[in-house]
Symmetry: C2
Subunit: 803 residues, 2 copies
């Protein structure tokens, strides 16, 4: 294992022999528990010789990453006690739960929260049995684990979560063990640069500990197989001061780890003290540790002639077939006994007092730190009155506004009032998405070098709280960490590239789902608010690659208990929706709103009413006697999303001019889940309400922002759903003017008129003529666009023509 | 701009004055064209003084990244000519097309492919007009651009594409300009480690050129704002030998770039020569270049009192309002004139011969290299007869096999026969996904350090062709690069984590779509084959985070012309499907198949027939007179996916035992798109065929592998779709035994029987009793699972009971 390295290795021996013995004993207890969790269903403290019956029938769980995790945890406990630190622990390595559950149980938190897992033999047996057992807890650091804010089932996000946790938590230390497998993922590889956004004056500190145990499931890890010089260079290049703790002999490793952590904590404190004294935030070289230890450390050296400790073979269950192979039973017995549990636990099964005393107490325990149950310390936002930002309307459909610009004004005031608990996150697109008003209150966060011209336009500052980095992964990770530790925020991104974080969204939604269903002791946290802007329909020069409205499709796959989707048609609706989302907890709220100039339809009070209902008839756009009898209209023009709404309105205007006798009902949908039945989603309309809005049998021409089939997916259980004709994006695009793109996907006014004509027989002989004119309009328009490069002004400057 | 740096800067002046002048003139021509594309619609060579009418009405496109791209391109041309190199060019920076289109046009390729963009004034005007113009070409390096294999609309994949292109192309040099914005993304940040997988003996070389122009859309880039020491360390840490080319004076920069490229190419050749001579592949430190040049280099210094060149303000259109602001018109005129076009082009508008001579000719032009139109050099795979790997069946539903293990045996032979043109890609899961037979033919690729124990189990070798790295992004990027340059491959990954590459799938599908619809000169390339294994239904110890079958939902959002989804129910079907996919071109094929033991149903010949049809009645499982009259069955049991198929069969067996008079038709779906109408997808069944299979009106109980609503999305247009009752995954899971998980999501046999009872009134009084027994079975089973941690053996060892 030993390699020479050029970089810092602290060789002092700060531990007395007795401290060393105790620390190692505590670690032995942790390792014993980890093995117990994976193997034992009875006889938890080996009070009897091990029998096959004591062993679980199905062996699940992962040993490989566990010893180094508890090794680190135990050393951090020493540090917390020594310095009275406020610290949390984030475990990056996959399936590392046994290495964390052990110390969490030993410090008593587990039994406090789950009294049946008490600190005695019976409780320990329960504790072992539940692990990776059907209906019980998993082998990741799931929400059920006290102190966890990071499940780590999918790899790559531990480091960004850690940084998110310490932003605006000046006293907090987030210690994060990064697995060397995880370190190969893209999200992790770029998250190291988070140090360019951490301000030592007002933020806490992250201490990353890269655990090079050398192996993934079946392969060595890359970082374990490059030279020490490259390894050091890489982390110096990332801006850290790397320390190496390397070896396999526990005594030497304890001394080295203790000495290194002492140095790191001194360095962190010195950085913070100096920055806070001077008030000048410079980017320091924060320390980080490379812990190079054997995979499956202290486990069986060899099984069936194969090396196990120190290889990928110890990744999961290092020795199996315990029930059928007496040699294996013996290996397990020897392995468990090697930790000498009788020296660690008393006859009742409680950790002996000398060891118990090594752990911090109360909220200083990393497993009991309220920061890691963020809802506990969450404070409601102090929100401005969103009505103060209303767009004044004398009349629907006459004036244009950049919708997200108004939202930006509102967010500016949100940030002004909540400067230490709310942050805005976006990949280099805050100005592009028209949210730059926020810069009036706070600059962009920037700890890297600055230059004179940076003062210009959304300036950069260590004091800034607008987070911009060209990594959606890192932004989403920061925001999740920020929310999970009790704060608030909003992530905005180009609609098409929200897919970059599809998988992160999935994991966060699953975390929230479990918290709500199964973990009552977790306090609600602020919702993850995502604004999708720069939408599919306005990609004049970005083209096809930027056209994808499918993120919301993905969102509808997750539990109805934790997902909400809003498509406000104008700025006042956007304000109302945003206010609602910022007040909510435990959801993922997705808001879809474009940044370009759009017609405004509703006054503030109308908007509030409309958004509260989530769906509604727009009287002023309808000419049926809506509400009085449900079957009066000849056709229902429905729409959802800012751009489709305008086209539906323009189509309605044409229809009303061309066919004065046609009764049109106009419905706008803000809250997408209204379309689903109430038994599928809590926001869903009852069938009765749905039929009363859409009529039970009239044709519906539904103009949708996204892929059309999402509407069918949500409405397939509705009465005569086949009458709902949906238009939406169908992957027809490239470099297109707005109306041209609408036409290619048939969400434009002309095609909608044709759709109505095709579905309403009563329109008679005039219909064929109108249809022909619509087709000619389409041809004329495309000709104009292809000749002049822009839409015809009468289309783009269209306004609602009726009173 | 000037900073001192500790790392290598080559200061020699290899260019004579005349070479320098010519090179610079060629670059001026490129820059002139880039500006022309963004601004001009007429008067392309300024033969008249510039008038507002000559300028496009809508100014779209991006100037910022362009000059450095063409600077690099021009220098690479010199290198190609000097060394007769076989090279391609990949442009990472977003919207960099003007910087590449220019040189591509100048070397004649553009006019050869698009004769109306001829090399004269008229052609040039067309060339300018089409850029970012409706219905024409975009501002990325889209498929319409000769020589491009990387659109770069979404950032992060340029480097992995470059590596993928050179694997098994020993003579190829892929030069890739990485943008400093793009460099912040996770996928790019980890792709630098691709050098641990590049074998100098059999692979070509990648020369990465990181262009630090300092700015993204609205922010400085991180890498431009760290110290030179950190910057150097980072790339040394990544395993490269970084060279710095820094400055803004064109003459000095030309000399430095030429000198540096000379050194790099010498170094690359020395590495390759030595490796190929000795036959021993060591991982070398490959050279890379950091090109630190001003953003918008040679553009307007200042507009309206703001610095433009060298800042984010030159990202897009540096000076606008040309029509309304005469000062701006003047700036544009001066800017264009600064390149002295009259010295570069003759009166007819053709590049003058002295400059023309600087470009390589024929296929040595990077824009005409057949490698970048990979279908041209693609050779059909030499495929073994998949029937040779058939599982022998005497009877359906009696024996169990690991389905992907059989596929692995087949892939082993595929690799054996196509060792230089087929690679397998997977994130550390090849063995886990049961594909390890391939190791019998070729090891895993590994150029980093090796240790003695590595010989054990799927060993590591520079000669290996099984690609494993814990980065789905990198793997997918490599495979895309490999396919786009004419080769074949398959990417396998855990089903839930395919979402990591959702966005990459989107981009590749869009690329294929455009190629098929709009770019007839691009030859078909091999399909992107994705095997999803370790499926949602077998996550006994991975738990909730690993349960997500939604990748295929995303796939159905993309064009029907390029997407195919297969869910083979057993190993013989999997073989047939795999063979089909490996022969296909220009699709994304997604195969969903689990790795655990599963019952086998069809003989090889039955499987071939079934997969050819894509959907079919299983006679042996049905007891209606299928085919003779379409309305005979009382109920249709339909299923799709290996695990749901077994549960549907088990339910059918219970039904047939309990209700001998009940006529059950059993349908299995392999090709998911069969469910869609033929007008929506080329594989879709006609309504008539659909009704003939599913009957027009009988209840259908459809057991689906994925989220149930996907089936509704595909079938909402079918006759009486509301009778189709779909079961699937609905986000109910955690640590679960297989049958327990099925029960929680109601895809299990007992719930399916209840579903039938609830839908078939004729079952009479016995039905209530059977229903009660099913409920008791569920309770008993869950009790067993929660007590013993495993499913009851009579469930997991179930076999089809009928003859």
């Amino acid at each position: 294992m030993v390699q020479t390295s050029s970089f810092d290795q602290i060789k002092a021996n700060p531990l007395t022999q007795s401290e060393l013995d105790q620390l190692n004993a505590y670690w032995r207890a942790c390792n014993y528990l980890a093995v117990g969790m994976i193997y034992l269903r009875a006889n938890p403290l080996l009070h009897q010789p091990l029998q096959p019956d004591h062993v679980k029938r199905r062996l699940l769980g992962h040993w490989g990453a566990s010893p180094a995790l508890s090794f680190t945890y135990v050393h951090l406990n020493r540090l917390i006690k020594k310095h009275d630190l406020n610290a949390i622990f984030i475990a990056g390595p996959g399936h590392g739960a046994p290495g964390v559950l052990g110390p969490v149980y030993l410090e008593g938190t587990y039994s406090e929260i789950y009294p049946d897992k008490s600190e005695d033999v019976a409780g320990l047996e329960e504790f072992f049995r539940q692990f990776s057992f059907p209906g019980q807890i998993g082998s990741h650091c799931t929400p059920e684990m006290p102190g966890s804010i990071h499940e780590g089932g999918e790899l790559g996000y531990s480091l960004s979560h850690a940084y998110g946790a310490v932003f605006d938590h000046p006293d907090l230390l987030a210690t994060v063990v990064v697995g060397d497998g995880e370190a190969e993922t893209g999200p992790l590889a770029t998250a190291w640069h988070s140090n360019k956004f951490l301000n030592p004056v007002r933020d806490g500190a992250v201490l990353p500990i890269l655990n090079l145990n050398g192996y993934k499931i079946a392969n060595p890890s890359i970082l374990a197989r490059i030279s020490p010089q490259e390894l050091e260079s890489l982390f110096v290049g990332y801006g850290y001061e790397p320390y190496l703790v390397e070896g396999s002999d526990p005594a030497a490793m304890h001394q080295m780890m203790a000495a290194t952590l002492d140095v790191c904590i001194d360095q962190i404190r010195a950085i913070q003290t100096e920055a806070r004294r001077s008030g000048e935030a410079q980017r320091p070289r924060w320390p980080m540790i490379i812990l190079r230890s054997p995979k499956g450390w202290t486990g069986p050296r060899e099984v069936d002639g194969h090396q196990v400790e120190g290889t990928w073979r110890s990744h999961q269950v290092p020795v199996s077939q315990i029930h059928s192979n007496p040699d294996h039973l013996q290996i397990l017995q020897d392995w468990l006994s090697s930790y000498r549990p009788q020296e660690l636990f008393d006859a009742e099964g409680k950790l002996i007092p000398e060891l118990k005393a090594l752990a911090p107490v109360g909220q200083r325990r990393m497993s009991a730190n309220p920061v890691a149950n963020g809802g506990l310390i969450r404070k409601e936002l102090n929100l401005p009155n969103f009505r103060d930002f209303a767009v004044d309307l004398a009349h629907p459909g006459r004036i244009e506004v950049e919708n997200t610009k108004i939202m930006g004004d509102y967010l500016r005031e949100v940030m002004r009032r909540n400067l230490h608990t709310f942050r805005l996150f976006g990949p280099d697109e805050t100005a592009s998405n028209r949210l730059s008003s926020v810069y009036e209150v706070t600059p962009k966060t920037w700890m890297a070098q600055r230059q004179p011209e940076d003062a210009d336009g959304g300036w950069l500052s260590p004091e800034g709280r607008v987070m911009e980095m060209l990594s959606e992964h890192t932004l989403q990770g920061w925001l999740e960490g920020y929310l999970l530790t009790g704060r608030h925020g909003l992530f905005h991104t180009y609609e098409a590239f929200a897919h970059v974080v599809d998988s992160m969204f999935n994991q966060h939604a699953k975390w929230l789902d479990i918290c709500k269903q199964e973990v009552p002791w977790r306090s609600p946290i602020s919702s993850l608010n995502i604004l999708l802007s720069s939408l599919v329909w306005r990609q004049d020069h970005n083209g096809f690659s930027h056209q994808d409205p499918g993120f919301i499709d993905l969102v509808t796959n997750k539990s109805a208990d934790v997902t909400r989707i809003y498509l406000p048609p104008d700025a006042n609706c956007l304000l109302s929706v945003t206010d609602h989302c910022l007040r909510s907890t435990n959801y993922v709220n997705v808001i879809v709103a474009d940044k370009q100039m759009h017609l405004q339809y509703l006054s503030m009070e109308e908007a509030v009413k409309h958004c509260t209902k989530g769906i509604g008839i727009w009287d002023w756009a309808s000419n049926d006697d809506q509400g009085k009898a449900p079957d009066i209209p000849d056709v229902v023009m429905a729409c959802c999303g800012d751009i489709p709404t305008m086209e539906s309105l323009a189509a309605t205007a044409i229809l009303r001019e061309e066919f004065p006798d046609l009764k049109v009902r106009f419905i706008n949908v803000v809250d997408l889940y209204k379309l689903q039945p109430e038994r599928e989603h809590p926001h869903g309309l009852s069938d009765r309400d749905f039929d009363s809005l859409f009529t039970p049998d009239k044709p519906v021409v539904f103009n949708f922002h996204g892929y059309p089939w999402l509407i069918h997916k949500l409405t397939y259980r509705r009465t005569r759903q086949e009458r709902i004709h949906v238009r939406g994006y169908k992957e027809k695009g490239n470099i297109n003017t707005p109306l041209e793109l609408a036409i290619r996907n048939q969400i434009d006014r002309f095609n909608l008129v044709i759709d109505v004509i095709d579905r309403v027989p009563k329109l008679g002989s005039a219909a064929a003529y109108v249809k022909e004119r619509m087709k000619n309009q389409i041809i004329d328009h495309l000709h104009h666009a292809y000749t002049h490069g822009v839409d015809r002004p009468e289309m783009t400057q269209w306004t609602w023509p009726f009173d």
